[in-house]
Symmetry: C2
Subunit: 339 residues, 2 copies
């Protein structure tokens, strides 16, 4: 008689051993070990955990990946995960991936093309099952993913890379409703705090601003271009306040810029919306807790993240590449002048 588990004498403990000991299927052992994709009843999970402990089972992820030809991971490439828009995206992608049994590899590119290329190459080398790319200032270089046959989804606002699935919102229409809303409050001089991109054509938000002004029969207000950051918005705000024709309302092309813009307005002793009204773009939670709370165009980040994961490793896997446009909506709060 021995007190050693039976497995001690016959090599490594397998998933089958655990399943037999716990009286469950090997699939159930997988779900417990991998935390999904299916849920396991607490009592069953306890039995499996007990079997794992008693038998000393140690799953081998590398062997499993080699066998499956899958690392069961999704890569995410963002400029900066501390930007609330991208932190929400990362959270939503992580949730949607976990639901399907995939883990999330997070990479930050700092808006730096060389760093983004390195991150993409690194994800390709790690044989992730798919990559979600959110590049704020340029179109990502997908050659490393393509040569490794790794599917990717772009978060972008046009289908300029037609051979890749992409998703985004209609920037022109989103900006148009935010500016139209300012015009509906009676503003005649509506400025623009615009984030800078390296693309050839004008950003859709700038086009939407122009469109709303034209539709309302208003002249073009002043523009200040700056980075898509709090600091950028602060600088843009100072410049707009110094412009010859100071606007009575400003549309900021991102919430972060609006937060910086608000600081510039507060420092100048101006009241918002009394002296200058503001609307912005993104719909991040920081915009809800700024002072005053920002009226902003919400991008459905969670829906886009879920669709991206579905396209990479879920139900929509293998569908032909296409560009999907998601609806925006105006979240009306107080910065616009609404009560």
């Amino acid at each position: 008689m021995t007190t050693q588990p039976a497995s001690a004498s016959r090599g490594p403990v397998t998933r089958k051993d655990v399943a037999r000991y716990a009286g469950v299927s090997t699939a159930v052992v997988s779900y417990v070990v991998n935390g999904g994709p299916k849920k396991v009843a607490p009592a069953t999970e306890a039995k499996v955990q007990d079997a794992i402990r008693v038998l000393g089972y140690r799953p081998n992820a590398a062997a499993r990946a080699l066998k499956l030809g899958s690392s069961e991971t999704i890569g995410l490439v963002v400029p900066d995960n501390t930007n609330p828009f991208y932190s929400l995206l990362a959270h939503a992608v992580e949730d949607a991936a976990a639901e399907l049994g995939y883990a999330l590899l997070l990479t930050n590119s700092a808006g730096n093309l060389a760093k983004e290329r390195r991150n993409i190459r690194n994800l390709a080398a790690r044989q992730v099952d798919g990559v979600v790319l959110a590049s704020v200032v340029f179109e990502p270089d997908l050659v490393d993913l393509e040569s490794a046959e790794i599917p990717s989804v772009l978060l972008s606002h046009s289908d300029s890379q037609a051979e890749v699935t992409s998703m985004g919102v209609d920037l022109v229409e989103g900006a148009r409703i935010a500016v139209e809303h300012l015009a509906s409050h009676g503003h005649k001089n509506i400025g623009l705090a615009m984030g800078t991109t390296t693309g050839d054509e004008a950003d859709g938000r700038e086009q939407g601003w122009l469109k709303a002004l034209a539709d309302a029969g208003l002249p073009e207000g002043p523009i200040a271009r700056s980075a898509f950051t709090r600091e950028g918005g602060y600088a843009a705000g100072k410049r707009l306040l110094a412009s010859a024709q100071r606007p009575s309302a400003i549309f900021a092309s991102s919430d972060l810029q609006a937060v910086g813009l608000l600081r510039a307005l507060h420092e100048a002793g101006l009241s918002v919306p009394g002296d200058i009204a503001v609307t912005s773009f993104d719909g991040s939670v920081e915009a809800e807790y700024s002072w005053p709370p920002l009226t902003t165009v919400e991008q459905p980040v969670r829906e886009m993240a879920e669709a991206a994961v579905r396209a990479l490793v879920g139900a929509d896997r293998g569908e032909p590449p296409r560009h999907r446009v998601f609806p925006t909506r105006l979240l009306v709060r107080q910065s616009c002048g609404c009560p």
Copy 2:
């Protein structure tokens, strides 16, 4: 003569083939493929990339992991990566890990113990090389990591799990200087907006608030307990304003709570710091761009993240477990009453 690459007739292309074709060492090929750990000159990198393309080389991460016994990944467990404190932590851990050639697996636990256990088990099953755990409300259950012999580092404020390396700031001292600063502005009734934890003993921030009041010979001000969130701070602010002895200054135990508190104060038509002064804790960028900008106690997140990665997979790997205390400093802005 054939135009096929030479490798077509002799099975899979290896790293050695790429190195020979590019005229570099296999180590250099590794650096290019993995994006590190050492930097490669752009011209050399181009040669290697060229060789990879021409030969059709595809590195096999799973085979490599099996051989190395390492997945070259670090896991991060946070309650919610959209909280600016944790998003900064995730960014800093990603940077420090990438520097050493490791990628970051991000998991959110939503302050939910069952979800945190699943995430930890999942990371263990994926054979990460180490895990950084930041649990806001409870001590994490490390049994799955320990049984897989995966090292972990806790971000916490005491060494209550003595067998694990942990790092954090001295909460008592940090809070003490934030409250002492309010007292130095002449405030006699200083309230506390305190985040709720499930620990047995009072949070260090509450102790630091009490200590500063005792040192200054002041009575205990009112306390409102709520979640460590913007919403929590907003609710706490409303309760403090309704208290029988409304405080003239409030210390908030996190920046997010302070952001919510500011909203409650603004909505009540109060000026900050004129009517009520505020200081808070964390030092996140959101505190810099609130209105007014928050005077806050900065936690050195980046330094802690770098030390955590060093302890897991860097120079400090294998050192005996210990608790490391990092210094805090008061970032003086305007919410306290300083000019």
